[in-house]
Structure formats: structure tokens, C-alpha cells
Symmetry: C2
Amino acid sequence: MTVFNFSAGPAVLPVPVLLKAQSELLNYQGSGQSVLELSHRSDLFETILHETESLLRELMDIPDEYRVLFLQGGATLQFSMLPLNLATNRQMVDFIDTGSWSQKAIKDAQAYATTRILASSASDGYRSIPVEAVTSDADYLHITWNNTLEGTTYTKAPQVGVPLVADFSSSILSEPIDIRQFDVIYAGAQKNLGSAGMTLVIIKDELLQRTPQSSGSYLRYDTHAKHHSLYNTPPTYSIYLTKLVLEWIKEQGFETVVQRNRQQAAALYTYLDQSTLFSNAVAISDRSRMNIPFSTGQVDLDTQFLKFAERNQLVNLKGHRSVGGMRASLYNAMPNSGVDALLSVLHRFEQGER
Amino acid sequence: MTVFNFSAGPAVLPVPVLLKAQSELLNYQGSGQSVLELSHRSDLFETILHETESLLRELMDIPDEYRVLFLQGGATLQFSMLPLNLATNRQMVDFIDTGSWSQKAIKDAQAYATTRILASSASDGYRSIPVEAVTSDADYLHITWNNTLEGTTYTKAPQVGVPLVADFSSSILSEPIDIRQFDVIYAGAQKNLGSAGMTLVIIKDELLQRTPQSSGSYLRYDTHAKHHSLYNTPPTYSIYLTKLVLEWIKEQGFETVVQRNRQQAAALYTYLDQSTLFSNAVAISDRSRMNIPFSTGQVDLDTQFLKFAERNQLVNLKGHRSVGGMRASLYNAMPNSGVDALLSVLHRFEQGER
């Protein structure tokens, strides 16, 4: 059965990546070992780790003065590690609140620092990114670049005079960004980078000079930086899958992937905006290209649509329980045929088919 | 090329597990999705998680009053989470020091609590487990059950009147244990349970009543217990691989696996004890069945042996850099043919073959 998987994450992976992983599963490059069995201290794995970092640096144009760390625990563990490592001067963190994931980051930071919300789009139901200029004198400002649940995205990094930390979990490598505008970028791998279990942290060298709050070794960025992500056993297989994903991107050219993302999102928004049944409520300038929520405005009809979609092999289109309706996540690995199939099913449903 | 992999972890996996993973890699149970692509909120994944826990409870005979958590970050993150969650009354933790991993646990706990070493085998180079009776009035006592580097193991849990926390990373599911003698057992998955990236924590319910030191949500056991390891995205593929490993154990019978482990270790120790070239220095009563260090006593000869072994398809036999010599890790997935091959290569080298 071929299905198209619109999950918000863990999410669809490129078929060539899965085929490569499958072909190498029992015997990696003639070693007689699976990547799953490779010691993290082996030359074979160290080469995988090194190549993954090199590909990332190349595709994202990461300057030398940033360190690339391969950690575990998802964005959720970063919500603790960021204040532990960076809220060390004034023990104060500023946030721009753009929805559910911002709020989780704020709540966790409160265990370690005073938190302030400089701007919020709560008043319009998080259907936009706040536009007001903000200034900060905190240890850093935290933003959520792409909001997976609400379907919004920043298009420009706010400049506030303190280090800028951005959660890129659901949009990393989906569009070009200028790393130099940020001081920390982090992302779980299970959307655009590979599989659940690996968390990417890109951090400016100078932030590693801050003395962390009293913490065990895993929770300190300087531990991982000093040991090149090999202080303890890293999530070896997730790192390997990320390498395969990055090779897949490089092979096509990053620009091709970016163009495909833009075209896919544009096609779906165009449909939704002309539809008399389905709609997307997000401010046009702030619409995410990765996560596109939509609904008929009627719970029963949404449920009918979800069933109809599933019968037509479109899975995981259900919106997050806190938002309702539907959500199509169009990560890098979503093929054009998946979006075509979604458009066709939307159209048929709108025409009355059930 | 067939090789035998004696790595201390990540380590050898059972071939039937790898074959099953390979066959399901692109299409899990007819879903049209890879396990790597499954949403952690999907019925398919929740079934995997549930079955993994059930198998563990069955094979390890885990009583109902213990919770089973599937976390990330390895034993190393537990070195922080344990004191954060459990050193909350007297903020004091007692340790028995049996080597390198004990010391790492102690060092990390010092960020959160006063630490005391009740007993240590440092004076004999960690070639034994301390035998003296100890008493404790700390928040808990921490022990390292099997010492991967030093090749020692406990055979009996110390009883000290405070909760007992044990690192079982390198011996979990290798032998029957009585969970009721412990309050927390934890283990990275990359030795006997599956792949790097998943950390198992088995914790007695009543310890979840302690109020953790101020911490973000990921670092609190109660978060994960309340959400059945689904508060945030768990390491889905590592959990799936653990399920396959547990099914493989169940199919043969746990007792068969235990017997095989005992026979393999006995065969290697018997050889080493009668050898005039190779020897193992660990006190006989405290010898690990999982990690068996040995050496010729001469660095050059050890190096020659390692090269000879590698030419004969025996890989990752090099001892940890802090110990030197050789180390054979004989985890559950090591086939008898691997130990036979090792014995043959040891014998040939001892006979003068190079």
C-alpha cells in the first residue's frame, strides 16, 4: 500500500534514504556490521559523524565560529539546557510567545530563570507573528521560528541586542537562513533531518564561555563541544540517517528542495483561499510552508473529511488536539505527488464525494 | 564478510532482529510507512510502545508498583536526573565506587548533592566488588552493577535501609535479577536491549512522590511517568528495536539466553585461567559475564594480538584506553560461534601463530 504521510513528526522520510538504509542495514560498507552495531569510538562511526557535520555546514552555510552538536532529548530537553547554560548572568530570559511550543519553552525556563514575554500573538489566537519592535536586556531572547501547531513562521529574525536563540525544529533546512543572525539554533531531527532521537544544536562559540548553572556533564554544552558530541554514546543510528537525508538534499541541490517546498505550500494555500468549504486562518505574511492547518469550520465535517482522506491513503492529516481541524505537514521529503493527491481529495470532498 | 563484534557498546545485535528490521524498514505491518516515519501519537507506535513494556515486564518479572520509562541521554543523563529527582530530602547521595562509571556518576551528582563513598575497590585497582557491609542515611545509595571497563559485577544487591539505585547498562537482561531488591534500575539500550539512543528507567512508584529539585519538564521522572513516556517525542526507532530484541529473547526463552551467557563466559575464563600467555586479573567471585578484560601483560604483544584477531575477523577487542589490553564483550547477541572463534584465535596466537 502506498500512503502519503502528512504527520507533523516523526514524519515522512525520502524513499531513497529508506532504501539506502535498508540495503546497508546488515552490512555497512562491507564492514560486516550494521550501523546499529558500530561502536561510537570506531573509525567507521567517527567518519559518519564527521561527514554529517560537514554536510550540514555546507548546506546551511554554518560559519566556523559556530559549533554543531548532536544531542538527545528533543527540543524539550533544550528548554532546560538553554537556561541552564545561558541564563547565567542576570538569570533572566526573554521570550516572544507565538503559541504552544513557545509556552512550553517559557514554562521550563521558569525553573532556572526569571522569564518575560516581550510580545505575544495570543490575542489573535496565534494566527500571526508579533510585529512590534522589541528590546531586551536579558541573558538571551528565545523565539519559536516555525510554529508546528499554529502554522505560523517568522520570515525575519528580530534584532534585539542580546543573543537570539531560535527553535527551528519544524523548519530546519526547509529554506535558506542566515545563521549569523542567530546565536543558537536547535531542532529535533524527526521532521526535516531524519529520525526521532537526535537533537541538533548549533551554537556560537562565544556562548560556550558562559559558566553554566551547577549541572551534571550531559546538561552542559561545553561537555559536548569539547568532546565533539562523543562525551557519551550519541544516537548513532539517528545521526547516520541524518547523513543520508543530507546527502539526498545535496544530490538534488538545496535550492531545488527549497523551490519544491515553496511550490507545494503555494499550491495548497491557493486551493484553500479559493475554496468555499476549507480555509486556513493564518495571516498571509506569516504562513508556514511546513505545517498548514485548515478546517471546514465544522467538527463533524472535519471528521468526515479525515475519514475520506484516510480511505484515499492520506494519513495523519488530523490537526493537533489543541487546535482541531486538519493539518498538512509538507516537510522536505513530501513528494509533489503527495500534495497532488491531497489537492485532489480536497477537491473531490468539496464536490460532495464522501 | 562475516565478522564477530566484541564491542562494549553499541554492540552486536541478533541477526534475526536485523533481518526483521530490514524487512519492515519501508513498510511496517502493511501500513505503507516505515517505523522511522510513524507519528509517536499513532496507534501503530503506541502499540509498539505498549508491547515493548509488556515484554520487558514479563521477561524481567517487573512488579506492578514499578514504572517503566523510555528516555534518552544514556546513563550519563541519568547521572543528573537521579540526584535531581531523588536527592531531595537530605540532598545527600551515597555511592559504592567500583570504577570508572561509578566515578562519573559521583562527579555529576556533586552538582546537586553532597556525595559520600561508603566503600571502594580502588585500592585493588577495581579488580573486585567491595565486600564490607555498609549502612546509609542518604537519600539513596547508588551502585554500578556491572563494570564495563573493569570487568567486575555484583552478584548480590547490598541492603542498606535507603533506596537502592543501580546502573545496569551493560548487564540488563543478561541474567535473572529480583527487581524488588532495587528502587531504580537504569540502562542504556546499546548493549543488551537494542540501539543507542534509548535509556530504560525502571522506578518504584513511591519514589515518584518525591518533589524534584527545580527542573524543566524533561528532567523530571514524574513528567515521563504521567505521560507514559510520550510527554515529548520518544526515540521511536530505538524502542521498536528493543521490542524486536525482547521478542527474540522470548522466542528462545530467557533461561536459554542466560545459560548461553554463562557457558560463553565460563569457556573464556577457563581458557584464560589455564593460559600461560593471557590472563584476567579480576577476583573470581566478581567476574563479569558480559565484559571480560584480558591481557598478555606486554603492550607490544597485546597490540600484535589485536592485529592478529582483526585479520581473523574478530573486531573491537581492544580494551578501554584507561585499562589497556583486550576486552571481549559477550552480550546476549554474541553467538557461540563468536566465542569459539575467539578461543581458536587465542589458542593459535598462544601457539606462536602471528
